[in-house]
């Protein structure tokens, strides 16, 4: 059922294939799976770490960083002696980033979403463009993989603008892999929305299943085709398998819980390099997805 809803993204498929790896629940193995796919590909890969709050793929891919760029949002700064306190900017701002009371005006740049409305609405030219640092984007290479990643500045709330930036920076290649943040809200949407296919990684526990259902609901809403990878299989229960079957959602792969895998992960070693045969499984999965 999910596959029939491929929708408008199919047209892109001739030039490249964008796969997003997402999950709902955190810690199910998104990074493990996305890194494994990248390493298993025999084509040039662009890997985009979209978990800008806690980017971890670099631990496994160890890219040689060749460039970086700080990213800023444009926020208002008040030129007080030009302001006539008309409060049009305050009234327009939906995010409480400017307040005017009597003959005082204050801007709160941390609240600003950078919509630009205040600059447009001010007749007095009393606002100038200041900037707020959001985070840093970096890029580099790791073998046949070009890696693009970003780190949100600690204390910065808005992850989505940085996700958009790192995705724009990323070079289009035959295979593009997005490693998504956990959850189901805006940062996830901004990561997956232009993907051709989404892999939802889960674990066989009530938490894993509950959050998988939420993530699946998001993918349906976005009309994105998706399938499931069950990680840490063998612990917990079998309800995830059953749920996928009942809902006609492809279960692409099950990875047994294994202390050797957990140990490789803990040391920053990609699992496809730690366990024989896994790389081929991921290469086969890529071929299956390309069809």
């Amino acid at each position: 059922m999910a596959r029939d809803e491929a929708g408008p993204s199919k047209a892109n498929r001739e030039k490249d294939m964008k796969i997003a790896v997402a999950s709902g629940k955190g810690g199910t193995g998104k990074t493990t799976i996305s890194v494994s796919l990248a390493l298993a590909s025999n084509k040039p890969v662009t890997f985009v770490d979209c978990d800008v709050e806690e980017p971890n793929a670099h631990i496994f891919l160890k890219p040689d960083i060749s460039g970086s760029e700080e990213f800023y949002l444009t926020v208002p700064e008040v030129i007080e002696d030009r302001c006539n306190y008309c409060a049009k900017c305050r009234d327009l701002c939906q995010f409480n980033a400017i307040t005017v009371f009597g003959h005082t005006i204050m801007a709160f740049p941390d609240m600003c979403h950078s919509c630009g409305g205040c600059f447009l609405v001010c007749d007095q030219k009393a606002l100038k463009q200041g900037k707020r640092q959001i985070g840093k984007v970096e890029w580099g290479t790791s073998g046949h993989i070009k890696v693009f990643q970003a780190a949100l500045r600690v204390g910065e709330a808005m992850a989505s603008p940085l996700i958009k930036v790192v995705k724009k920076k990323a070079e289009e290649r035959e295979i593009v892999i997005y490693d998504a943040p956990p959850g189901t809200s805006c940062p996830v949407i901004n990561t997956v929305r232009d993907a051709d296919y989404v892999l939802l990684v889960t674990e066989p526990t009530p938490f894993g299943l509950h959050d998988l259902k939420l993530a699946a609901a998001v993918m349906k809403e976005l009309k994105l085709p998706f399938g499931v990878i069950l990680n840490k299989a063998g612990i917990g229960f079998s309800k995830v398998n059953k749920w996928c079957e009942e809902n006609d959602i492809p279960l692409h792969m099950e990875i047994e819980f294994d202390k050797d895998l957990a140990s490789a992960y803990s040391r920053g070693i990609p699992i496809v390099e730690a366990v024989d045969g896994l790389k081929k499984q991921f290469a086969d999965l890529l071929k299956e997805l390309e069809k």
């Binding site: 999950s23 709902g24 629940k25 955190g26 810690g27 199910t28 990074t31 978990d51 800008v52 709050e53 806690e54 971890n56 631990i59 327009l92 939906q94 995010f95 979403h113 950078s114 919509c115 630009g116 409305g117 447009l120 609405v121 949100l152 600690v154 204390g155 910065e156 709330a157 808005m158 992850a159 943040p181 956990p182 959850g183 189901t184 809200s185 805006c186 949407i189 929305r193 674990e203 526990t205 009530p206 938490f207 509950h210 959050d211 939420l214 993530a215 609901a217 998001v218 809403e221 976005l222 612990i235 917990g236 229960f237 202390k259 957990a262 140990s263 992960y265 803990s266 040391r267 920053g268």
Partner: protein, 295 residues
């Protein structure tokens, strides 16, 4: 009132399992689930919902095609690339990209753009066997998770005050962004649950940085610590260097997953190793909260 916030940076380290256990050990705390976009605490605490409220936040622009003259002003000034012009020269809003800034509606010369309030989800007041609980549910794909977290915390505080409850246990979201920052506001102590992996350590550094940024005291628990004892030692050394106390280590214990499958907090299985460690961690953490009070 004292607020303990459980965070992790990295997802899946055991925040909810440990918060659920604290709920049993603490007895009559105000229980709060701030992971509003993938909330799981209710799967352990089986709350009975007493009240359900709508969460309405922000607006989305919508074009009235009859009033639109196709001038393209909105599409040009939108900073979020949310408005495109169709072949029939009508503006079209992509609701997923719309930030709700209202700039398009304000500057539309034909008043053709209406702003619709977003119904983003629900928040609940519930009863559990271990105390009252405030939790929420963000609709799939909705925005404003930070605002919902703030609302959940505010309601929990009000109810706790009414009910004369003096401690709040808060299960936080993963990451360090908007919903996490909203949950840090008002916390007296942050317990960071980490795991002995390179990713765990990397994410711990960032979440401790966040605690420092907002000047909230933090302590650390290493979950499943013997999965990589060497990494566990590195994490302990790192914490020492940061003057952040490690309040305990929880062993890898199959009972944790089994209890989860049963929908029970693991400390209900008193004799398992994980339960014993969690009980010790709870006494260390509750002591820190009381000391905080004396400062």
């Amino acid at each position: 009132m004292k607020e303990l916030l459980v965070l992790s940076g990295k997802g899946g380290t055991g925040k909810t399992s440990i918060t659920g256990s604290f709920a049993v050990l603490c007895k009559n705390a105000m229980l709060v689930d701030c992971d509003v976009d993938a909330s799981d605490l209710h799967l352990l605490l089986s709350p009975e919902v007493q009240e359900r409220h709508d969460f309405i936040s922000g607006v989305t622009a919508k074009v009235n095609p009859e009033a639109c003259t196709g001038c393209g002003t909105c599409s040009t000034i939108c900073h979020f690339e949310a408005i495109s012009m169709t072949e029939d020269e009508i503006a079209l809003v992509d609701p997923l990209a719309c930030e709700g800034c209202a700039v398009c509606a304000h500057f539309c010369p034909d008043d053709a753009i209406v702003l619709h309030p977003n119904h983003c989800g629900f928040w609940y007041f519930s009863e559990t066997d271990y105390g009252p609980m405030v939790h929420a549910e963000l609709k799939p794909g909705e925005e404003n998770s930070g605002k919902l977290v703030s609302l959940v915390k505010q309601k929990a505080r009000e109810l706790a005050e009414e009910m004369a409850i003096d401690i709040m246990l808060v299960d936080g979201p993963p990451g360090i962004g908007c919903p996490v920052i909203a949950s840090v506001s008002g916390a007296n102590l942050i317990l960071v649950i980490t795991e002995p992996t390179q990713s765990g350590l990397h994410d711990l550094e960032r979440v401790l940085g966040l605690a420092r940024h907002f000047k909230v005291e933090a302590c650390v628990c290493i979950n499943k610590w013997e999965l990589n004892e060497e990494m566990a030692v590195r994490i302990e050394q790192f914490c020492k260097g940061q003057s952040v106390p490690v309040v305990g280590k929880v062993p890898f214990d199959k009972t944790v997953v089994e209890s989860l499958v049963q929908g029970q907090p693991v400390v209900k299985y008193k004799d398992c190793n994980a339960s014993k460690s969690i009980a010790n961690i709870w006494s260390a953490v509750s002591k820190m909260l009381t000391q905080e009070e004396q400062k």
